[in-house]
C-alpha cells in the first residue's frame, strides 16, 4: 500500500512539476519499449544508453517500464504468436529477417525469437503515437485538470488518512538526512 501511495505521489508530483511534457513523454515511450520486451535483450541496453544520453525523464522512464513490464509479461503468449506470424508466416519479410539475424552482432539481439520480435514490433509501432499522445495528455492535464484534482475531495480525504501522515514523515526524514 505504501509503495502504491508512493508511486501515485511520484506520478502526481511529476505531472505537477515544471518538467517539460516532451521529456516525460519520452520517458514513458522508452519505458514502454523496455517494459514490453524481454528485459535482458540487447536492444534494451541501447535504449538505456539513449535514455541516459538524451534529456529523458528518468522517473517517467522507470515508472513506465515497471507498469508495462506487468503488461508485457501478461501478453507473452500474444507476442509469441505475433512474432511467429512475422518471422515464419510473413513470407515477403523473410529476406529482411534473414539479414536482421545474420549480420555482424545482430544475432545477439535475438530478433529471431518470437517473443522479442512480437513485443518489439508492437512497441516500435506504438512508440511515436504513445510519445505524442503522452505529451499532449500531460499538457491537457496541466491546463485543465491539475487544480481540480488538487482541490478534489478524494485527494483531501487521502491526505487526511494516517497512512498519508506516515508517508509525509518518511519524506521529511529522507529530506533531513539528504537521501
Amino acid at each position: 500500500m505504501f509503495v502504491v501511495i508512493k508511486t501515485v505521489h511520484s506520478i502526481l508530483k511529476l505531472l505537477n512539476s515544471e518538467t517539460s511534457p516532451w521529456q516525460i513523454a519520452a520517458g514513458v515511450a522508452f519505458g514502454f519499449i523496455v517494459g514490453l520486451t524481454p528485459l535482458t535483450s540487447l536492444h534494451n541496453l541501447i535504449l538505456f544508453l539513449l535514455v541516459c544520453l538524451l534529456r529523458v525523464n528518468f522517473s517517467a522512464f522507470f515508472i513506465s517500464m515497471a507498469v508495462f513490464k506487468i503488461v508485457g509479461w501478461l501478453l507473452d503468449p500474444v507476442w509469441d504468436s505475433f512474432g511467429y506470424w512475422l518471422l515464419v508466416d510473413l513470407k515477403p519479410a523473410r529476406s529482411f529477417w534473414i539479414e536482421m539475424t545474420t549480420g555482424p552482432l545482430l544475432p545477439f539481439f535475438r530478433f529471431n525469437n518470437t517473443v522479442v520480435m512480437g513485443s518489439l514490433s508492437v512497441a516500435l509501432i506504438l512508440f511515436v503515437p504513445l510519445f505524442i499522445g503522452a505529451a499532449l495528455g500531460i499538457r491537457v492535464y496541466r491546463y485543465r485538470y491539475r487544480d481540480r484534482i488538487r482541490d478534489s475531495k478524494l485527494v483531501k480525504v487521502l491526505q487526511a488518512t494516517p497512512l498519508w501522515g506516515m508517508y509525509q514523515k518518511y519524506e521529511a526524514a529522507k529530506a533531513r538526512f539528504g537521501l
Binding site: L49, C52, L53, L54, W79, L87, L105, V115
Partner: protein
Amino acid sequence: MIIRLKVFIPVVLLLSLITLFILYRMDAWLKENLESSISLITKTKTDITSLKLSLVNSSLTIRKLEVASKSDEFKNSIEFEDIIFDFQTLPLLRKRVVVDNFSIKGVQWGTARKTSGKLPPEPIKKSEPSWISDLTDEAMDSLKKEMEEVPVGKLFEFRIPENPREIVESLQLKSLEAYKNTVIQGQNIRSGWDARLKDMRGMSEFETQINLVRNALQNVPSNPGEIVNRVKTVQTAMDFFQSEKKKAEAMVGDAKSDLQRIQTVVDGANEALQSDWQRLSEMVSLDQLNMNNFSRLLFGPEWINRAENILKYHKLLRQMMAKSSSKDDVQIRPRAKGRDIIFIAEKVQPSFVLAKSEFSVKGLEGGNRKNVNQYFELKVQDLNSSPKLYGKPTTVDFKAQFKEEKIAEAYLNMFWDYTKDIPKDSYKAGAERLNAADWPMGIPRLFPLKISKGFADTRSELEFTGEEMKWVNRIDFKAVDWDFSEVPNQGIIIPLLKDVFAKVKDFQLTLQLKRTGERLSLGIESDLDKLIQAGLSAAIEKRFHEFKDRMRKDLDARVSIAKKQAMAQLSAFQSEVENSVSDYVAKSTNYIQEANSAKESLERKAKEGVTSEVKKSLPKIKLPKF
C-alpha cells in the same frame, strides 16, 4: 540542449567496467558451466583445474579435466591433461563458434582424486521421459514384460516323475476315445451288412438250381424236343446264377469301401495313440523348460535395460540435432521465452561448426609420459549444430589400442545425416578382449548367473532411418568360467546345469533389436542353447528313458481293451462280410460255368438227336457209282 553528457559519460564508464568484469570472470563462468554440464551427463563430479579463453589467440585451453568414477568416489574414471580448441574470432561477432582445431593431450584412467566425486542426490523424478515415442515405449514395455515372463521358475521346480500311471491318467487320452468310436462305427456298419446279407438268396436256392442243372444231364432222352426242354431249364438256372453274381459283385465293392472306412477309423485311432504318446513324452522332457532359447532368458533382461539407456542418449542427440518443424524452410527451437526461429537459407550458417579435426592421444601409465600404455585416435568431420543449414553429414571415427589391459583394441564409427527430412544415423562399434565378467547377464534375484572369467570380442551395428531401427550385436565369448555362487541350488536342473555350463568355454551370442513401424522385436540367438540342451539331455536322458518305458506300457494297457475290440471288429468284418460276399461271387461263377457246360452238352445232344431223326426219316436212295 537535448543531449546530457553529464549522465551519459558515467553510464558508459559503468557499462565498460561491467563488460571488463564479465570478460575477467568469463573463464571462471565457462569453467563452472562446463563442469556442471558434463556432470549432468556423467552423474558424477567433474573438475577442471583451469580454463583459459583467449580472444587474442582465438583459443580455449582446458587444463586437467577429471571425471569422477561412479563406482569409487575417490577415483576418476577418466582424466584428460590438456584439451585445446582453436577457433575463429570473426564468426563470434555473428554468434557462431567455428572450431578450426581440437586436440587432447594425454589421457589417464582410474587416477586418484583428492576430493569425493559424489554429487548430491537428485530429486526423484516422477516419470521417465519417453525415449523415442509413446508407441516405442509401449513396445519396450511389452518386451520387458516378456522378459519377466520367462519361465525361470521352472528351472527350480522341475522334477522327474516317479509314477507313470499318474501322468497317463492325468491326460485325457484321445486314442481311447478313438478306439471306442471305432468299435461303435464298426458295429453300425456290420448291422447294415447283416440285413443286406439276409436279403440275398441263400445257398439252398443255389443248390436247388444246380441240382436242376445236374438232373437235366441225367438220363438224357433221345427226343430233341425233350432235350430242348431240359436246355430251357438249364438256361433258367444260368440266368439265376448270373443275376445273383451281378448282385454279389456289387456287394463286393460296397464291402471293400466299408472295410476301407473301418480301416481309416482304426488308422485314426492308431494315430491318436501315437499323439497321446507324444504328449506324454513331452510331459516328461526338457522341452517344457524352453531350453531351446535359454540364451534369451540369460542375456535378454539385462541387455534390454542397457539398450534402453543407449537409445535414450540417442534420442537426446536427435532432439538436439534433428529438430525440425513441419515447415521446411525454418527450424523451430523452443526456449524459456518464446521460440527461436532458424531460417534455412544459403546465407544462414550453423552457430557451431567443427569442420575437421584429427588427432591422437596417448594414455599414460601413472601419469608418467615415458610409460605410454594406451593410444587413441579421433577423427571428427563436419560436426555442427544445425545439420540442415550446414548440409553435410557428420562423421566421428574413434580408435583405441591398449597395452596390457583388459581390452586389446576398440573402435567406434559414427555417422549422422540429419540434413534431410528423414534423419539417418549409424553407429559401428567393436572391442576385442573385453572382460567377459563385465557383460550384463542373468536375472537379478531370480537367476543371477554370472561369468567370472574369460574374454569377449564384440561387434555392434546400430542403424536408424527415420524411426526405423536395426541394432545387431555379435559377441564371441572365449575361455569363460561361470559363476553359480548366487544362483539358488534348488531342484535337479540347477546342479545339472552347473556341470553342463562348466564344459561350455566358448560360445557366440547375437542380439538383434529391430523397430519396424510400431513393432519392436528382440531376437537372441546363441549356440549356447544347443550346447546346454545337448548337455542336459545327455545327463538326464537315461532317467527319462526308463520312466518312458514304464509309461508306454501303462498307456498300452490302458487302451488295450478298446484297441483289441476295434481290431476284432475289423477282422470280423473282413472274415464274415467280405469273405461271404466273395464266396457268393465265386460260387455263382462256378455254377454259371457248370450250367453253361451242361447247356452246351444238352445242345450238342439235341443236335445229334435231330440229325439221327432226319437220317431215319429220309428214303434209302441208291446213288449211281462213278
